[in-house]
Every structure is written in structure tokens, then in C-alpha cells.
Symmetry: C3
Subunit: 139 residues, 3 copies
């Protein structure tokens, strides 16, 4: 059984956002899957998906601060500068963090650990509404 659906998130400000509930809300079909995988894919090159701590919002704050230092704006060797200072760092962050996550599905639920949630990394100042593609495979 394969189920596929596109999801458009609301526009979010630059930073890391917990989006687990947005994904679950679109997937009532999850309840019918005894065993399988959920693949969540972002159709953009300046935003990312990863899994991390779902409880304390200071973790998301520290992520934003860390990645801004790891991939700083206006590096003197950047040549891809025409789309603004936040663009090239956004591409780098997206590559490091990744464009998709895969989560096991077991007995109708995501088999996440207690503290795991899905993060959207919005790496542009004005990224707009991001499109996700959800693919649920299982039986």
C-alpha cells in the first residue's frame, strides 16, 4: 500500500520549527498501516527537514544560532550572491541537514522516540509557504 500527498506549510519565519502536528494532521491513513515507512520530502533547496528534540524550544533557538555561525552570510569566497546574503548559507544548511526524513510506522503510529519531533529548518528570511511531499508505504 502506497499513499502520497502534497502538504503546503504556512509561511514560517527564519529558524527551526516543530512541524510534527502539521504532518500527522494530513495523514489519517497512518492508522491503517501495521508496518511501514513514512517519507517526508521538502521540494526546496533553501529549507531542510530533520528530527530533533520536541519539548524545549531553546533547542530550536540554539540550532538557529549554531547554523548561522557554521554557514555565515557574506563569506568572501561566495560567488552565488545575487539572491541575497541569506541564500547561499540556506543552500549549505539544506545540504547539511537534508531534504527528507524517513520514519518507521508501527501499529498505525510513527515509531518516534519519546523526544523526537520533525523540524522544518527555514533558512531564508522570506521563504514563503514550503511544499512537502508525504509518501507512506506499508501494509
Amino acid at each position: 500500500m502506497i499513499f502520497q500527498k502534497q502538504l503546503r506549510l504556512p509561511a514560517m519565519h527564519r529558524g527551526f520549527h516543530l512541524i510534527t502536528d502539521y504532518v500527522l494532521r494530513e495523514l489519517p491513513e497512518l492508522a491503517q498501516v501495521r508496518a511501514g515507512l513514512l517519507h517526508v520530502f521538502i521540494q526546496h533547496t533553501s529549507a531542510s527537514l530533520c528530527l530533533n528534540e520536541n519539548a524545549d524550544p531553546t533547542v530550536r533557538h540554539d540550532f538557529e544560532q549554531f547554523f548561522n555561525r557554521a554557514a555565515p552570510e557574506n563569506a568572501p569566497y561566495f560567488r552565488h550572491t545575487s539572491e541575497g546574503p541569506d541564500d547561499m548559507p540556506a543552500h549549505l544548511k539544506a545540504a547539511v541537514l537534508g531534504s527528507s526524513i524517513s520514519i518507521p510506522v508501527m501499529h498505525g503510529r510513527l515509531a518516534l522516540g519519546t523526544w523526537q519531533g520533525i523540524y522544518l529548518g527555514e533558512h531564508r528570511e522570506h521563504g514563503g509557504r514550503r511544499a512537502l511531499m508525504l509518501t507512506l508505504m506499508g501494509e
Copy 2:
């Protein structure tokens, strides 16, 4: 055909560990898969999974040294500090390295390259026993 199983690793010290054999030992079912994928997922936010060099242990040493410098403890801008100095760097390393790996399965075996092995990145001093979820899909 979908096969799913939880695996609890023994507690490992902080650093990178080759765990290919732990995974294979739990999967006699692999022999029956002609073509498919194995998904290995870690249900934690302060440990990671990746693939890398399976022969020389100095690679794992150098990984630990590199990532300790890339995500240092006690960064002055960290706000998530209540769980110890190794906690926030552990979350960052887990996001950069990733929570899951997917490996092709062919003719009953993992289609890894000659030098590829599965690494557990244990990013906490006392991470305890880590839970992995194995999902094998194929025919």
C-alpha cells in the same frame, strides 16, 4: 514483504562505533530478500547513524575529534544548558549526521561498498542503551 524489529544496542561510550554486525545479527530475514531496502532508525535525539569507513579505527577517532570541534560544548549563546554541557552539542551532531540510514538489499545481502560500515555516533557521555528500529522492505 515488510519486516520490522526493534534492537537495543549495549551502552557505548561517547564516540563513533561500528555496529554493522549488531544489525546483521538481528536480521536473518535478510537472506530471503531478493531486492529491497533496509531502513535503520535511531529513536533518540542525541545519537546518530551514518555510513563510513569500516576498517581503520583511527577514522572513528578522527570523527569524534572533528565533531567535538565543530559543535563545541558551552557555546556562549546556548540556552539549552540544563541537561549538561554534552547535551546541546549532541543534538546538533545528531541533526548534522542524521537519525536514519537506508541501504539497498540485493540477493539476500546489504549492497554496501567494500569499505562501508554502519556507525553509531554516541554523542552523550552516558547515553545508555540506544534503541534502533529496523525496517526491511522488499520482495
Copy 3:
């Protein structure tokens, strides 16, 4: 339906390369998949796969410059030095960027965003011909 195929890329120089067309050329079977996933896996530990901007080649230039600074050669604490100065940084870049990508397949096509393409990160000076394993699952 599962389809699997190995693909050997031509040798490429150190840097980031857009390889979407190499992958698509090997997969006429894609046209028959209504819904599914394509998994692309690299069987090496010193080269990587990721998705990023498919239009402006300066993005690939800036990637190479960025990752050379993030994982520099000849770090004083490296112990794995016997395979040349580009080897240990190549392992680190491969772990950070990843060994595989998964892309949704919809109505016979990769459901990539407008600006997304598949990057090979060739992190060795003389990496030679890299082997990819393509796994297409769907219906």
C-alpha cells in the same frame, strides 16, 4: 514493484556535480510508477549524495569552497593520514552530506521541486568511477 540497478558514473574531478540526468537515463522504468520512491545510494565512503540547486553552477563552486574550509586537510589531530591529505576530510564530508537520497516518484516522474537536482560530492582528488545503486519502489 521493486526495480534495482547499479550505475557507474564516469570519473569526475573533486567538487560538486549535477548528476540528475545520469540517474534518469538509467531509469526508463520510472515512467511506469504511479506512486513510489527512488532511493539513490553511493557505495563509497569518500563521496556523497545530496539535493540542491540545479541551475547556477556557482552554487556548486561555493559548496566546494565551504566544505573545504569546514573539513580542512591536515588537521593536527588527524590520525588517519596514510591515504593522503584529501582522504580524512573526504570521509567527514561524506558523513555530513550523506550516502543516499530518497525522492518521491509521482505519475511516472521524480517529484523534485523546480530548483532541485541531484549532486554528487566528489571529495577525493582522484576518486575514479563511483558506483551508485538505484532502488525504485512503487506501484
